[in-house]
């Protein structure tokens, strides 16, 4: 495993961000069975907006630098510009056809190759991305970097002297207060913060900032681990979800329809069910 890279002044913060379709129901490429992202209006994944905000707040409190990284098609630049407008210092986009069609493991290896070249104290990932909804990337990356992870964080403080993070996180039966030494990876929840909205001027200025674009050959590493080829999982087949046989579809007079429904429910002895609790 790599040597852990910890900086000594302020916090080096990396936020992993993803551009996602603005509409929840996107189409599928019939050849590769992957989601068609090109030409679909996109936004910065809402959980990652929270991640960028938290990165900036940590920098405001403890000093340091916030870098956002995304892997995606060149149009994902818009997501990086959005993060720069909020106040991130540096934006990197990993973009190459080699990276396309990646599952979470392949995405983690791609981000890993970049992050290994950098200094970092805290890595922030979103709770999940709204188009694939796995939330797997954070834990994958923490393992590949061999650093501790704290997922579903609601509040985070840093002890700069002992160089550790103290965080409140969601647990199945409440909240846990957890600490871990730097460097650490955390994932967001929506109670972590209320993200700022950049002003028009900030949005305009962000467009002038330089964004580093990294191709596969520049990234290096084991190219066989990237993209569709490097993905252990793949969509084999798509099918229509099976329909249940509807018993009745009532159209027309609402009073009559309701009467028929209520009778049917009464016959099945089902209108007086009570909650199990």
């Amino acid at each position: 495993m790599e040597r852990k890279k910890v900086s000594s002044q302020g916090l080096k913060i990396i936020v992993c961000i993803k551009q996602v379709p603005a509409v929840p129901d996107v189409r599928i490429d019939p050849v590769t069975n992957t989601l068609i992202r090109e030409g679909v209006p996109s936004i910065l994944n809402p959980w990652d907006v929270i991640g960028v905000e938290e990165g900036i707040r940590l920098r405001e409190r403890y000093g340091g630098e916030v870098t956002v990284i995304t892997m995606g098609p060149l149009q994902a630049k818009e997501a990086v510009i959005g993060a720069l407008a909020m106040g991130a210092d540096r934006g990197i986009i990993l973009s190459d056809l080699t990276f396309a069609g990646a599952d979470t493991i392949a995405t983690a290896h791609t981000l890993l190759a970049q992050i290994k070249k950098m200094w970092y104290d805290i890595i922030i990932c979103g709770k999940l991305s709204i188009d694939s909804e796995t939330g797997h990337l954070g834990p994958h990356l923490a393992e590949l970097l061999d650093i501790p992870q704290i997922c579903y964080v609601k509040k985070v403080d840093v002890d700069m002297i002992e160089r550790k993070v103290i965080a409140q996180k969601e647990a199945d039966d409440g909240i846990e207060v957890v600490e871990a030494p730097l460097p650490v990876l955390i994932t967001t929840t929506n109670s972590l913060n209320e993200p700022r909205l950049p002003t028009l001027r900030e949005a305009v200025n962000a467009r002038r900032k330089k964004i580093e674009v990294v191709t596969a050959s520049e990234l290096g590493g084991d190219l066989s681990k990237y993209g569709l080829k490097g993905s252990p999982t793949f969509v084999d087949k798509l099918f229509r979800p099976p329909a249940r046989r509807p018993e009745m579809l009532l159209q027309g007079d609402p009073k009559e329809a309701v009467e028929i429904l209520v009778q049917a429910l009464l016959n099945r002895n089902i209108v007086n069910v009570r909650s199990r609790e």
Binding site: E143, D173, G174, I270
Partner: protein, 358 residues
């Protein structure tokens, strides 16, 4: 380290055998999702002609093995250590990884609880294998590979994994447990595990238990009234609460509704919300996107109210009413009130029922 193996290709792949279910326990109690996974795991193991193994980690939890046998396991791998008494991602992952290296299971299923969602993906990265989150069904193809089934856009996808073990998670309630058979016999293998305190770099300093929300637990509800974007506004959503109160039902909604802040995330039903299996599910102003229906289609009776006759929800509804919800709901509620007033053997809503938050 186990190297990456092409499915059906490399010889090593063939040496991976058996279906494993991680049986998560908390404070000495088994989580229900482990028993549910044993139910579907049984079917997969039988199709493969291989063993169904439950893996149980903890401290002083040997007793729980009996339940795992009754719910379908052929074999239990039990690892006890005082450092496994309380869940920590790194220690649990290290122990599970060692067990996988040693026994080489072909399939590894884990529950999508909060802990499971931290543990499973980290373990997959350690094992250099793939993982599919929140599957709603599983099957075995003709070559003996696991088909991991979950919604993908408007369709359902069969996902395969080129590497072993083939890992997947499923949410609570996605599968049914088998009827327990207390006469079943199984072997219990006790694993001596070496665990040291500094393996876990994260340390829990405090646990603050929170009480359940006033909304009630959708995963355990017998009756659910769910609202969708068709309600139009948070104010209108009160209609859903009123109907639920009348029926003694729990309130739920779609992701659109949660995104708009009309309901807390705890009440979201579907792929990225909760899986529910009530006796009665009333879907009001819900279109019936696959991502929603995977979470509620196992309900006993589904009632749908929607003004669009083409809405996909009508394909899975037991009873559908095509019409304007603002017209239908008041009539429906009046009719129910009449029923409850006249009904002799129908009790009034009980007191513990969550109160209307409005």
């Amino acid at each position: 380290m186990v190297s990456k193996t092409e499915i059906g290709g490399a010889e090593e792949s063939a040496s991976y055998k058996g279906v494993w279910v991680f049986a998560e326990q908390k404070d000495g109690n088994l989580r229900g999702v482990g028993l549910e996974l044993l139910g579907v795991g049984r079917r997969l193991a039988d199709r493969l002609g291989e063993e169904l193994v439950a893996v149980l980690l903890g401290c002083g939890i040997e007793e729980l093995a009996k339940d795992l046998v009754a719910y379908g396991a052929d074999k239990i791998i039990l690892a006890e250590h005082e450092l496994l008494g309380r869940y920590t991602t790194e220690t649990y992952m290290n122990v599970l990884a060692e067990l996988v290296y040693k026994y080489k299971p072909s399939v590894l299923l884990m529950g999508g609880t909060l802990n499971g969602r931290e543990l499973a993906p980290r373990l997959a990265a350690r094992l250099s294998t793939g993982i599919t989150a929140d599957c709603t069904d599983f099957d075995i193809d003709k070559d003996g590979h696991l088909l991991q089934i979950k919604p993908f856009s408007k369709l359902m996808a069969k996902i395969k994994c080129r590497t072993k073990p083939q890992m997947a998670t499923a949410k609570p309630n996605a599968f049914k447990r088998l009827k327990p058979d207390w006469s079943r016999k199984a072997t219990v293998i006790r694993e001596e595990v070496k665990v040291s305190p500094n393996e876990t770099r994260t340390r829990v300093i405090e646990v603050v238990k929170t009480t359940n929300s006033i909304y009630g637990n959708v995963e355990e509800a017998d009756a659910i009234v769910a609202g969708g974007r068709g309600l139009g506004s948070k104010e209108n959503f009160k209609l859903i609460h009123d109907l639920a109160d009348l029926l003694g039902a729990t309130v739920a909604g779609t992701r659109s509704v949660v995104d708009r802040g009309w309901l807390p995330a705890s009440q979201q039903v579907g792929q990225s919300g909760k899986m529910v299996t009530p006796r009665l599910y009333i879907a009001v102003g819900i279109s019936g996107a696959t991502y929603h229906t995977v979470g509620m289609q196992k309900s006993e009776v589904i009632v749908a109210i929607n003004k669009d006759v083409k809405a996909p929800i009508f394909q899975i509804a037991t009873y559908g009413i095509v019409g304007d919800l603002f017209e239908i709901l008041p009539i429906f509620m009046d009719r129910l009130k009449k029923e409850y007033q006249e009904g002799v053997d129908i009790e009034q809503p009980s007191e513990q029922k969550p109160s209307n938050p409005y």
